[in-house]
Amino acid sequence: MPRIQLLVVQPTPFCNIDCRYCYLADRANKSVVARETLENLFTQVFASGWIDQELSVVWHAGEPLVLPIAFYRDALTMIDGLKPAGLPVKHSFQTNGTLIDDAWCDFIAEADIAVGVSIDGPQRLHDRNRITRSGRGTFDKTVAGIRRLKRHGVPFHVISVLTAESLAAPEEMFEFYLAEGIDHVCFNVEESEGEHRSESFAEIGIEDAYYDFLGEFWRLAAAHPGRIRFIREIDDAQRNIFRPREAGFFNQLATPFAITSMDWTGNIATFSPELLGLKNALYNNFVLGNVNRDRLTDLAGTPLLLRMKRDIDAGIEQCRARCEYFSVCGGGEPVNKLFENGSFASAETTYCRMTKMRATDLVLDRLERMAGFVDGTEATAAPERTAPMV
């Protein structure tokens, strides 16, 4: 039986900005999900028997905050009324931050919504790509949103898309986060998805640049204990490496319905959430069905799902057979395989070389170095122990 762990809801395809690297072709469309569609989704999800102990809901792409607070107040009340008693449902926004005002901060705090803000570092880096439709940078508005969240005591993390320019500037990025009081950071890379072709991926030496960036950022964080409390790429790599041999690996992105996505029309997709909204003739634009027309539980047996699963599994088997890093990634991200290699049934991508392999190399290399300090083969003095963060 499928297990939904993350429900990604696209309440509108519209985004109020127009980032150069955005893969969403429909981001100028101002349509909004109907209340009935949301009700159908959550009624079916809760009745499916596919929820285990909790459900995470992320309100995502386009820009979720272009819809009014009243929309979410109504939606969350409705969802709360539909959910089984005792089931924890945790909501999240992934936002560009430009629309965050005091009223949003009050609502986010009141509803206990987790917030991720997309910001690409200091202004000179952020405004290269994160721009309005008229081409103006969005840095000032995003930072204003972040400062409001801070003033209201609303916890948040940031996701920063790294390009060739920012990869060359770890210290500048670090100083920026410190200056803004940002202590939870996630790094994405500018990747090839949909119609977007990554310029960063085409750069010579980009994988080594990623290794160097992460290594230096990690070193800076360790030298300033308590200031950067979470670096997703480092924490994830360590979690995937320092685990007991009995612990397996679960690839959420390759497991049907572990991540379930719905667009504003009620269309349902699974596997990598980016797939929903992309065009693809072979896989019917990745749409398995529609909650206004189909039973969610019937979608698990559709020929389209089985075909996608077969191809994704074939790709995973290629990874298992030939990749040294399989145990830390479980076969990677289907969307990257499709748009880099042209097929789900494929293995290595630039995306995985950067974000999985090089991050793993970094942690293993640091462990080797520590082991060298311990057994005396490393000539340099061991680094000073730093105080634990509190």
């Binding site: 995502h60 990690w218 070193r219 979690r239 685990r243 293993l364 640091r366 490393e378």
Partner: protein, 115 residues
């Protein structure tokens, strides 16, 4: 010394500081001027050991440390030590799967951090 023993030795020393302490120590173990050092000059075991073997050795070390701690706790009639391993509970209670989370989001659940 085998890879497993080498890793077990260093992780045994680091583990009492918890996951945060391990991360801080490894983060600080950067070569001087890490940002300027070419990757091919940085320390690595890849020349002699395959990555898959290194990963397997780390996990064997983690399991061994876990077992030692659990046995010691049992002998002393106390609870096994707290989680140190990035969400992997001591004493074999591995209740949470290792997830490959979607990168355009961040899981705010508390299953992977214990500090």
């Amino acid at each position: 010394m085998s890879l497993r023993l080498k890793y077990q030795t260093v992780l045994t020393q680091l583990a009492p500081a918890g996951a945060v302490g391990v991360s801080l120590a490894l983060g600080a173990a950067a070569p001087a001027a890490a940002s300027q050092a070419p990757v091919d000059t940085q320390p690595s075991a890849t020349d002699k050991d395959k990555v898959s073997e290194r990963l397997a050795a780390v996990r064997d070390a983690v399991t061994a440390i876990d077992q030692i701690r659990t046995d010691a706790a049992k002998a002393e009639g106390r609870l096994a030590w707290g989680n140190w391993g990035f969400g992997w509970g001591g004493g074999g209670g591995y209740g949470w799967p290792n997830w490959n989370n979607w990168h355009n989001w961040r899981n705010w659940g508390n299953w992977f951090r214990n500090w």
